[in-house]
């Protein structure tokens, strides 16, 4: 088979069988390179799980399951119960999400339903600005500015609520401090607001316009339209966004480490100092040079890793399922 090249062709004439050429080496190696880069994700995640579990093994073997989850944390006396920190992590994250949820939903609804498009842009920029402030700066401001200011407020509230049945268990008590569960929860709320807001906006934006128009056509007010048309569609997605915010709140380390009060106690008094898993790891790791102490801190890291992965998986699953359903609807 021959292929006559044009007489005036600038493109070099080919060899005898020009149609047959093996796949160029460069093409194949590029594909391999890309694949390797992708695999890196799986490799790193696997290594994280393996190496950290390995390093924390002595904690589990020394303390046993009961020890690991006991409330007794006293490194000086070889007690490494993690319950106070698990408690603190859950409590601060809960406070964060309770505060952040209505605020985030409010802002996303504001952006999607109320504000005209050209004003939405600057508001989104402001939210991004909120997101770009580093965790450590929030912590710095928290401990040097917010906590001292809140201390006085906490004290007034606590003394004011003296004797009030339910409220005083949460907001009363002695020993209130500016650096406390509540302050940490507050700062975490500010930090997770941008992500919950942007995810909720994405979800709300997938609500089809015809549903909105249908509600309006029935004479609904905007709020009624939101409740009737937007909410049912975006419910699951918003739940997913909230879960992701929760995961973020649990993992935020430095801000919590600075303002939580560094006291490994379990108490319902939210204005009292407390501790959380990431906070204790960050604060005490320097001191934990060997042995079970360090293993305990790394072990709490493993717990944190597992918890946040589970939360992320569930969040993605919920968001995907709702997106699929609304697309098919």
């Amino acid at each position: 088979m021959s292929m006559t090249a044009r007489a005036d062709s600038a493109i070099p004439a080919e060899s005898a069988s020009p149609l047959t050429r093996r796949r160029p080496f460069g093409d194949r190696s590029f594909q391999v390179l890309c694949l390797a880069a992708g695999l890196l994700v799986l490799i790193i995640l696997a290594l994280i799980a393996i190496s950290m579990t390995q390093q924390s093994a002595t904690w589990f073997t020394t303390e046993g399951w009961s020890g690991v989850f006991s409330t007794d944390w006293d490194p000086a006396h070889n007690a490494f119960g993690a319950l106070p920190f698990i408690y603190g992590t859950l409590v601060t994250a809960a406070i964060a999400i309770i505060i952040a949820f209505p605020v985030s939903i409010g802002i996303s609804l504001l952006l999607t339903e109320v504000v005209p498009r050209r004003f939405a842009r600057p508001i989104v920029y402001v939210i991004d600005l909120l997101a770009v402030v580093p965790s450590v700066v929030w912590g710095l401001w928290g401990i040097l500015v917010l906590a001292p200011w809140l201390q006085g407020i906490y004290q007034s509230i606590a003394s004011g609520l003296n004797g009030v049945p339910v409220l005083s268990t949460f907001f009363g008590g002695q020993g209130v401090s500016g650096a406390s569960f509540f302050t940490a929860g507050l700062i975490l709320a500010v930090m997770i607001t941008p992500i919950v807001t942007s995810l909720s906006r994405e979800v709300i934006a997938t609500v089809p316009a015809i549903d909105r128009e249908g509600a309006y056509a029935l004479g609904a007010t905007r709020w009624e339209m939101i409740r009737g048309a937007v909410w049912p569609h975006s419910q699951a997605g918003v739940v997913g966004a909230v879960l992701l915010g929760l995961g973020r709140a649990m993992g935020e380390t430095i801000a919590a480490a600075l303002v939580i009060g560094s006291s490994a106690t379990i108490t319902t008094h939210l204005f009292n100092p407390g501790y959380s898993m990431p906070a204790v790891i960050a604060n005490e790791f320097g001191e934990a040079t060997v042995g079970v102490f360090r293993a305990a801190l790394i072990g709490m890291g493993v717990l944190l890793f597992v918890i946040t992965i589970i939360i992320n998986l569930s969040a993605r699953a919920i968001v995907d399922r709702s997106a699929r359903r609304s697309r098919g609807a």
């Binding site: 594909q31 995640l45 190496s51 605020v103 109320v114 450590v136 710095l140 709020w223 993992g251 380390t253």
Partner: protein, 297 residues
Amino acid sequence: MMAIASEQQTVDLREPSGWRRTKNQLATVGMWIAFVVMLVPLGFVLFTVISKGASAISWQFLTGSIPVNVLPVTYGGVGPAVYGTLVITGFASLMAIPLGILGGIYINEYGGNHLLARVINFFADVMTGVPSIIMGLFIFTIWVLHFGYSGLAGSFALACLMLPIVIRSTYEMLRLVPNSLREASYALGATKARVTLTVTLPAAIGGIVSGALLAVARAAGETAPLVFTILVTQTINKNLFSGPNTALSTLIFQNATQPYTGAQARAWGSALTLIAIAFILMIVARLVTARFARYDH
């Protein structure tokens, strides 16, 4: 009262009844309150950082060596920390950005519907939610325990943080490139690698670069991954690869709990510097997106 009188009926065209209207107004007010609630801490923190930090900033501050905590802010500066942040974050970006882009290319261009590609995509997403402290602990167990503290270890930890972010944003941008461009390139006899590198990637480059810049901004501000890997020190360490190092974020973390006003002032100045760096990166990212936005459909 607006009413249209026909034979016997009148139609009331006023606003809906009081309670419905009130609920609607309350809801709208509530949304605006939410917005203000978000603005308050942001404004407060920016105001504090700027007012307390601006007075500290000077060329000497940004380059001078770190004095003992007792000394006021007029002595020395945070030079080593600035250097550390730039170098550690820079090296981390050097590793994470190319690998992240290649990973994103794999998922979108080569992965197709294969299970492996979907698994990688899924776990890259999961990995973006892993707390940064885990990355720090991870590199500690896998590197520091064997090779000691160093800026390099810090870079590894930051790179682990940045990698999934860059992968995801690259993937999202590549998805937006219309298939007709790829087809045109194939039809001219280009191999897949060529198509990807000469047509697909350039078409998406604006969004990819902007996503990468945002990842860098995030990494520059991170503290937890560094706390476990660089063993914060006070003196400048020009050697990234061995010996403890320091960074702006870790310096702020340390000085936040110091009682001395000098140390605290240095923390505020560093905070302002950090925010400025992150802010500049964010603005450049926006400019890049706007410059290349002509291609978005």
